[in-house]
């Protein structure tokens, strides 16, 4: 089983890949994290989050 840190790293790579228009890694175990900016908020896989949330989640 992959560790949380490993999953988080994959998710961050995916997030960066999405924003940079790069293809997602084929062997990703976690679903992609899709981040859409909405003014000062972010829609992250359906969750409405703040920039502080993303920093805590190391997604920003």
């Amino acid at each position: 089983m992959r560790s949380r840190r490993s999953l988080l790293k994959s998710a961050m790579m995916l997030a960066l890949g999405v924003s940079a228009g790069l293809p997602a890694p084929a062997a990703a175990a976690a679903p992609p994290v899709r981040i859409i900016r909405q003014g000062k908020f972010f829609l992250v896989n359906g969750w409405v989050l703040t920039a502080e949330d993303l920093r805590k989640l190391r997604l920003l």
Partner: protein, 520 residues
């Protein structure tokens, strides 16, 4: 008295009445009581009995061809007392701004909230609400003025058939019948006056009987009233009151379902919050009205063993829990594992909730009740429902949920997740459209606007006094006359409208008057 239409007692209807009311639900029963109190002779006709019967409920079966909807023969209850016999009791008053036209709501009511306000105390008494008037909005700290923090009132709920049965039976001004199925309405030579309503019991080969009255009122609900009007086409081929092809059109529900998950940062002191948009927010965003009901999740704990098992996978603080959910973490992390485990030891520490949403639907001409080919036991064509939503309906849902998510985040109340289906490019309510009917719960059991109220006969079936355009003595009570649906549970408004109709008929129907003379 209350008699059975299948018994010889029905001879009691062989005399003219002042008014014949068809349907004994909140509208019909309220109107009957109101007019009887003014001294009018009332015939109150109910197709069902005092309890649910298969033969009565089966009259409601029909086809669904549009958006998925609940089964038509279970979404309504055909008994004495009508849908008050199964309603939840939640009541509210339609806010003033929902009566008015807006750019995104070009068709609105021809009356205002002020026209219905005088009936709040009596409606509140009928429903035993304690407070005579709608309580004011609660304070709501927020960064932007997006929401009103509204209050609903709760009826016990009052079952009108049970509450008023003895009163109706003892009322010398009311002659009521159960098992009396409306099968036809006869018009006079001018085709603008109803002269009689024909009823049949469930007895095989019953030839039926006709009730004569000066005025008739159809109070059959948002589905059955248009079905009957469309079926009665022997004298008017398009059906009664349907000169402008509007009967059954503009069908509205309150598109509603459990829309979102919420996880809280702290325990809430209030079990439920109700957020509705401010008129300014609606105008700025170009959306319709809605209600977001955020409910503290109060579940029975799992067994200790199951909780511990889940807890081993999921026991994490808020931020990491949020992260797990975003990444599609273990399914039970939110609702099972850590929540249940910690509830056993510290029930305040891991709060979560659900977001239920109900929306005002846009008025769509082709969202409608039609007639199916199949007929019921009385030879009347069953209904076919083609429910439609428009882009603005989905945009209202998404805008409202997003704003709630932002409010929760700004105030650090918690975080909200918007469902995937609503984030799709072309969202549709889950359950499909016309494919396989799943009976998914996408509405509030509220059928409205199918004989909507409008001053212009080209925009509505009834006028501001609930009289059918083009008919001298035919009125409609119930949610089918709503000019637009708002988001508010409709029963309270139905009774306000019925009380107002009672006032109107009381004024235009002086004792002994002749219909054609007094109603012109």
């Amino acid at each position: 008295m209350i008699l059975d239409a299948g018994s010889p007692d029905r001879g009691a209807f062989a005399r003219p009445f002042d008014i014949c009311i068809v349907g004994s639900g909140p509208a019909g029963m309220t109107l009957a009581r109101s007019l009887a109190a003014r001294g009018f002779d009332v015939a109150l006709m109910e197709g069902g009995s005092f309890d649910v019967t298969v033969e009565s409920q089966e009259m409601y079966a029909g086809e669904i061809v549009g958006l998925d909807y609940m089964d038509l023969d279970v979404v309504r209850i055909r008994v004495f007392g009508g849908c008050s016999e199964h309603w939840s009791g939640r009541t509210g008053v339609i806010p003033a701004h929902d009566f008015l036209p807006m750019p995104q709501r070009p068709l609105a009511w021809p009356i205002t909230k002020a026209d219905l306000d005088p009936y709040q105390p009596e409606a509140s008494e009928i429903f035993e609400l304690g407070l005579a008037w709608q309580p004011p909005d609660l304070a709501l700290p927020q960064a932007e003025q997006r929401f009103r923090n509204i209050q609903f009132r709760q009826s016990p709920p009052v079952r009108m058939g049970q509450k008023y049965r003895d009163e109706i039976a003892a009322n010398p001004r009311i002659t009521a019948a159960i098992n009396a199925n409306l099968v036809d309405m006869r018009l006079g030579p001018d085709l603008a006056t109803v002269t009689g309503a024909v009823f049949r019991s469930y007895e095989p080969d019953d030839p039926g009987f006709t009730v004569s009255a000066r005025v008739f009122a159809l109070c059959l609900g948002g589905f059955e009233t248009p079905r009957m009007m469309l079926n009665f086409n022997s004298q008017k081929p398009a059906g009664i009151g349907n000169d402008n092809d509007l009967v059954g059109r503009y069908f509205c529900e309150h598109p509603s379902r459990e829309m979102a998950l919420a996880i809280y940062t702290h325990r809430r002191e209030i079990m439920q919050d109700n957020y509705a948009p401010t008129p300014e927010f609606m105008e700025r965003e170009g959306i319709l009205d809605f209600i977001l009901r955020v409910t503290w999740r109060d579940r029975a704990p799992k067994s200790l063993a199951d909780s511990l098992k889940g807890a081993l996978e999921c026991a994490t603080p808020f931020t990491e829990r949020l992260g797990a959910r975003i990444r599609g973490g273990p399914r039970d992390c939110l609702w099972g594992g850590d929540e249940e485990f910690h509830r056993l030891h510290d029930p305040d520490a891991y709060p979560s909730g659900t977001v239920w949403m109900a929306c005002e639907q846009s008025l769509i001409r082709d969202s409608r009740v039609m007639l199916a080919e199949e007929t019921d036991a009385f030879g009347l064509r069953r209904m076919r429902l083609d429910w439609k939503l428009d882009e603005i309906d989905y945009r209202t849902m998404l805008t409202g949920l997003t704003a709630l998510g932002q409010h929760f985040a700004e105030q650090d109340i918690g975080r909200i997740r918007i469902p995937d289906w609503l984030l799709a490019d072309n969202p549709r309510l889950p359950g499909g459209a016309g494919a396989v009917h799943s009976g998914d719960w996408n509405g509030g059991y509220h059928q409205m606007c199918t004989t909507r109220m409008a001053d212009d006969p080209r925009e509505g079936v009834v006028d501001r006094n609930c009289r059918v355009h083009g008919m001298d003595n035919l009125y409609i009570g119930g949610s089918s006359v709503f000019g637009s649906p708002s988001y508010v549970n409709p029963t309270y408004t139905i009774v306000q409208l019925a009380l107002r109709l009672g006032d109107h008929l009381g004024a235009v129907l002086p004792a002994g008057g002749v219909v054609g003379e007094v109603l012109q």
